[in-house]
Amino acid sequence: MSEVQKYDSGSATNIERPISDPGIEPHRVRMTDKSEKHAKTAERQISFMFLVSIVGAIIAVWGFVAFPIVGGDLSATRNNAFWMGIGMALSLLGIGFGAVHWAKTLMPDNEVSESRHPARSSDEARAKAIEIVKLADGESGFTRRKLIRRTLYGALAFFPIPAVVIFGDLGPQVGDTLKHTMWRAGTRLTKDPTGIPIKASEVTIGSVFHVIPEGLKDLEEHKLEEKAKAAVLLVRVNPGELKEDPEKANWSYDGIVAYSKICTHVGCPVALYEQHTHHLLCPCHQSTFDLADHCKVVFGPAARPLPQLPIAVDDEGYLVAQSDFLEPIGPSFWDIRK
């Protein structure tokens, strides 16, 4: 048997220069053991902490009664919560600090050493365990009856498959909901939150309108989901400052452009618009889009431009969508291009 095996498994100690056992530190006699006066002081300190705990409990009850929570008055909650919290904290901390202080100063502080028992079982116990396993194998025929053993392996491998299939089908099917919004050809652009339609003439240069599609306000269900997809930022810039792709030149109207407000990084609302730089900044991760250049990403982690909503003006002068967004809004996903 080599020397290493004298040690417990897992202890890769350098046995050439083992660290010597320092033994127990010399016992230091506490002041509270030496002088009755110090012991008395400690006793008073501990009792004081327990008294603080009692006072804390009383403060908590007083705070609850003295600052009742009044419906509609949020500031009442503040004092109520503050005094309840302070009181309960004092109450619990008082007990805790008192108990620890007691143990440290007055309870016996004799150092004791206890050795760990070795982790390795005795050779007899190990031999016995192997014997049991072999006996069970012989009696059950696990090794001998190959057919049973292999079909059992097969059964165990197939057993989790239904769970995988079921988990893969949890929740509603996303379908194509990620690729479409409420916008249709002719949907009017309306103001958030009032739903008042916007005339092109009202959008002066430098203006920003926060836009929802007409009809969103009256939706009975899924209103927030639809708003989260359809929210649009409407801005008018000096038409001469727009750098427009000839293919998309008719998507704007006389310098008025509409872009999805949902960041293509992880979907925060992008609405920090700077009038002169035409920068559109996302507050979450600082993705910056150049609104005058089809919302190209100029800084930050977003990977693609904000989708543009093609707009036009109807007979009455109101701004309307030419169609839905022509690409999915918001964060990119697995099969976005399909």
Partner: protein, 258 residues
């Protein structure tokens, strides 16, 4: 049937008509001039404003306010713009940079009014808002909703301000007068966009001002505000004081009594 007596024009009738006409047109003109002066300032005030403009602003904004190197054109920016920029001390600008800062006001109210009248006389633009929209007796709930939709992304939900791109920032709104808040919305100073009356009606603007003043006066209901800037300040506070407290207790627990 008696034939009607033919209408006879008396000699003095013409005189009466001319007299009445003169009174009407003259009086009307005088009245119109008065309203014009009330709205745009008297010729003397405009002239005073022009002198101040030439002495203090023209080097950047051009001798006729047409703009020059370093300063944009002021034609059509209106009296509200001048009142905001000069009234908050941002103008005259101290140094060029990403953004002009608020600083001590350099002119008296009369001088600001004169310059505003001069700039307003160049071309029509947003006027100084009437008193009725600057009171804080609007609807703070509606104002708060409008503020969160239109303003909070830059100025923070309670107007604590926030960072923008490349050194620019949206300033904190506490302590800003009602008039300057209104003027900022209607003129869009520096990189702030414009919120004209079609977007936010004067009543909406009043509600927003009411909300901001309500928040300013009532403070936070949720304990320490830590600047109202959200998770960064709160996280830092917890890391330093919360964890610091836990570490201190741990050290105390492990220390021997002496």
């Amino acid at each position: 049937m008696n034939p009607q007596k033919p209408m006879r024009r008396r000699p003095w009738a013409l005189g009466v008509v001319i007299f009445l006409g003169l009174i009407l047109s003259g009086g009307g003109y005088a009245a119109a001039t008065q309203t014009f002066e009330a709205e745009f300032g008297s010729p003397e005030q405009v002239e005073e404003g022009r002198k101040l403009f030439l002495a203090n602003c023209a080097s950047c904004h051009g001798t006729n306010g047409e703009g020059a190197i370093g300063g944009p054109s002021l034609i059509g920016v209106g009296a509200a713009s001048v009142d905001f920029q000069v009234g908050t001390g941002r103008m005259p600008g101290q140094a060029s940079g990403p953004q002009l800062y608020k600083k001590p006001v350099q002119f008296t109210e009369e001088q600001i009014a004169a310059m505003a009248a001069y700039v307003a006389s160049l071309a029509p633009g947003p006027a100084i808002p009437p008193e009725e929209y600057l009171r804080t007796d609007g609807d703070p709930t509606h104002g708060g909703e409008l503020f969160r939709i239109n303003c909070a992304m830059c100025h923070n939900a309670v107007g604590a301000g926030g960072a923008l791109t490349e050194g620019k920032f949206a300033p904190a709104l506490d302590g800003v007068t009602e008039k300057h808040i209104y003027e900022a919305m209607v003129t869009g100073p520096q990189n702030m966009p414009v919120f004209n009356d079609a977007n936010l009606t004067p009543e909406d603007k009043k509600d927003i001002i009411t909300y901001l003043k309500y928040v300013e006066e009532n403070g936070s209901v949720g304990g320490f505000e830590l600047g109202s800037i959200g998770p960064v300040a709160e996280g830092l506070f917890t890391w330093i004081f919360g964890l610091g407290f836990i570490i201190a207790i741990t050290v105390w627990l492990g220390a021997k009594a002496n």
